[in-house]
């Protein structure tokens, strides 16, 4: 089949997102914060539905109710951890208490990644076809601990491999119907990329940071592929260092000069930049995706990610 180009676009507007954030703020205040899960659902629904691929919008189908339930579970979980921590402090075992806290945060990271990907992917729908995450919780848990251990004994050097191994593990378990993603990045390249970025940024007094960012983005996008029965979609970044420079500098200026109120515009600008600078081509037919992924409604991991401010990282 001939090579084809695919279209990704984002049509969100700053003012619309601003209105959503304002309404969310009002309702959050009136409910002393209990509206948070619904607020998050509204915001994600807006951002997803304004992202289209091949003229079809994405849909976020998670609900406030699901995320509220997850929120309660996540809070109980955190309270439990605090109880253990303060019991240890109370028993004058301060060292153990701090050790426990570090261990707790470390141990929940893989669980949170697993939980949030399962939920977020199951709630991402395109042309009626659900995404999915097929990773195994225990497998990721063991691998993650191994990678962290190696990172600690190498004084952080293994961190580059940790990031890439983790990214590869997670990305390659994302499904789009019956299609799957492939990630070809490796720790070796990622390590060199960061080493170069770090030293060039030092030498150029930080100016290189934007080009470093460009390379990190490129390293993610260019190593990504979508596969279905041997047919592929290849991803390519067209972002430039200058592009990152104007994106980030203008975003900072917007935040400063609007006293933070312009935050929604910076989100819109960032998503626009991201979608504009990902090119896709291949011999893949997007009319043939089949519904294979099940729905998954437990949002505990997603909410824990929010509580610990992990963000939605790959």
């Amino acid at each position: 089949m001939e090579q084809k180009n695919y279209q990704l676009s984002f049509s969100g507007k700053g003012l619309e997102l601003f209105k959503i954030q304002i309404v969310n703020f009002i309702l959050n205040v009136l409910t002393i914060g209990l509206f948070y899960p619904w607020a998050k659902a509204r915001k994600l629904q807006y951002l997803y539905s304004n992202t289209s691929f091949e003229e079809s919008p994405f849909a976020f189908t998670g609900t406030g109710k699901e995320m509220f339930k997850g929120f309660i579970k996540a809070i109980l979980f955190v309270i439990l951890a605090y109880l253990v921590f303060f019991t240890l402090v109370f028993m004058h075992l301060e060292q153990f208490a701090i050790l426990f806290l570090y261990a707790f945060i470390l141990l929940i990271i893989p669980l949170v990644i697993h939980g949030s990907y399962r939920y977020r992917m199951a709630k991402t729908v395109w042309r009626g076809i659900r995404f999915g995450y097929t990773g195994d919780r225990m497998e990721l848990f063991k691998l993650f601990l191994k990678w962290v251990f190696l990172t600690i004994i190498t004084f952080g050097i293994y961190g580059a491999w940790l990031s890439m191994n983790l990214r590869k593990y997670v990305v390659e378990r994302i499904r789009m119907g019956d299609a799957n993603f492939i990630y070809k990045g490796t720790g070796d390249d990622f390590f060199i990329l960061n080493l170069k970025g770090y030293f060039l940024s030092l030498i150029t007094l930080g100016i290189y940071i934007f080009w470093w960012q460009k390379e990190l983005f490129e390293y993610f996008v260019n190593n990504l592929e979508l596969n279905r029965g041997g047919k592929r979609v290849y991803f390519k970044s067209t972002a430039t260092g200058g592009g990152f420079f104007s994106l980030l500098v203008v975003n900072i200026l917007i935040i400063i000069f609007t006293l933070g109120l312009g935050f929604p515009w910076t989100i819109i600008r960032t998503l626009q930049f991201g979608t504009e600078h990902i090119q896709m081509s291949g011999d893949f037919s997007f009319d043939e995706l089949q519904q294979t992924q099940e729905d998954y409604t437990n949002a505990t991991g997603e909410d824990l990610a929010d509580i610990f401010d992990f963000g939605f990282v790959i």
Partner: protein
């Protein structure tokens, strides 16, 4: 109703099918174009939701957004279907989001003002009503414990100063208990319920016993007017409120709010100082002591480059002290007749205290 042909995605395959749709009695009927009418879908509009993108409406037929149809703006059913779905969504959220942005912004401002008043005025005032003098004294005692725990108390001076203050009528409601702490800090402060903390540093700076009376009257007025308690309660409620309502917003806005609040606290504490100066001088008059002592005290401290003592004395600046001196001078001018010699007994305690402080 008119039948039109639209694209339909069935939630099994990412491929569009042509279907005929018909809107009837608040329900959407969907038929396969190849089939007859009786084996299609029949979905109430209340189960649907939609988004509009580039002149096309994507109408999702279930919560999971797996099945949907696409209707173009030019479709004859377009307006009625969208209006029909909108009618079924009339919650709070829809009502709010359909407002203009400036209406929403005004709403936020009103809401924030309301909360501000609630936290800053209503809650502290209520708290003051519910906290009795007895409870306030108990709270003050607890604070006293923790405040003086790590300080060196000058026992002999404390005894002398207590004797001195017992000779004065400083409070009708609160037992005034003074403590002198060995420290070169030029300051003094009042705790809720009657504890006054005075540092040896400030006693050393004073020249006349009237200044000491002024100092005690000023601090006792903070106690009488429940200033410490009020600012404690309002700080507590405001900080809880601020942390609750800024949890969801970005760092810059949050730090702006915090700084605005610090300025407000500063302003508030200045108004309290002004009130304590005035009330303090009234107390002096009541004790038949010339209120000019307040002016002397301030001048002495200004000369020495120190701040006028207060419970909340951070960041108070010299121009401010100058204003307070002017006010004290104006007040004292009305009581020239109180220029009589100072009470002998008080004067002897004062001299003993002064000797101790060197």
């Amino acid at each position: 109703m008119i039948q039109t042909t639209v694209q339909y995605f069935n939630g099994k395959l990412s491929k569009p099918y042509d279907v005929n749709i018909e809107l009837y009695d608040g329900r959407l009927h969907i038929f396969d174009t190849a089939y007859t009418a009786d084996n299609g879908l029949d979905i109430p509009l209340s189960a649907c939701h939609y988004i509009v993108l580039k002149g096309r409406a994507f109408i999702y037929l279930n919560q999971n957004s797996t099945e949907y149809i696409i209707i173009g703006e030019d479709d004859t059913n377009y307006q009625s279907i969208l209006a029909g779905i909108r009618q079924t969504q009339n919650g709070w959220y829809q009502k709010l989001i359909s407002q203009k942005w400036y209406v929403l912004v005004s709403l936020v401002i009103v809401l924030l003002l309301f909360i501000y008043l609630l936290l800053d005025k209503v809650v502290p005032t209520l708290a003051m009503k519910f906290i009795s003098v007895k409870q306030e004294i108990a709270i003050g005692n607890q604070f006293y414990q923790s405040f003086t725990e790590e300080s060196v108390i000058d026992r002999a001076s404390t005894e002398l100063l207590q004797k001195f203050s017992d000779q004065l009528h400083l409070s009708t409601q609160y037992p005034i208990r003074v403590t002198v702490i060995k420290d070169s800090i030029v300051n003094a402060y009042a705790l809720p319920g009657g504890h006054l903390i005075v540092y040896t540093g400030i006693i050393r700076k004073m020249d006349k016993p009237q200044e000491l009376v002024a100092l005690l009257s000023h601090e006792a007025s903070h106690v009488n007017k429940r200033h410490s308690l009020h600012s404690m309660v309002s700080r507590l409620t405001m900080s809880i409120g601020i942390s609750l309502f800024t949890a969801d917003i970005n760092g810059l806005s949050r730090s702006l709010i915090n700084n605005a609040y610090m300025l407000k606290v500063l302003n508030y504490s200045r108004s309290l100082e002004k009130e304590a100066d005035e009330e303090g001088m009234k107390l002096m008059v009541k004790n038949k002591i010339n209120p000019v002592g307040m002016k002397w005290l301030m001048e002495e401290l200004k000369k020495q480059g120190g701040d006028f003592p207060s419970s909340l004395s951070f960041l108070s600046t010299h121009p401010l002290t100058a204003q307070r001196i002017k006010d004290a001078d104006a007040f004292a001018a009305r009581y020239k007749e109180l220029q009589d010699p100072f009470d002998d007994h008080l004067d002897s305690i004062w001299r003993a205290l002064k000797n101790k402080s060197h």
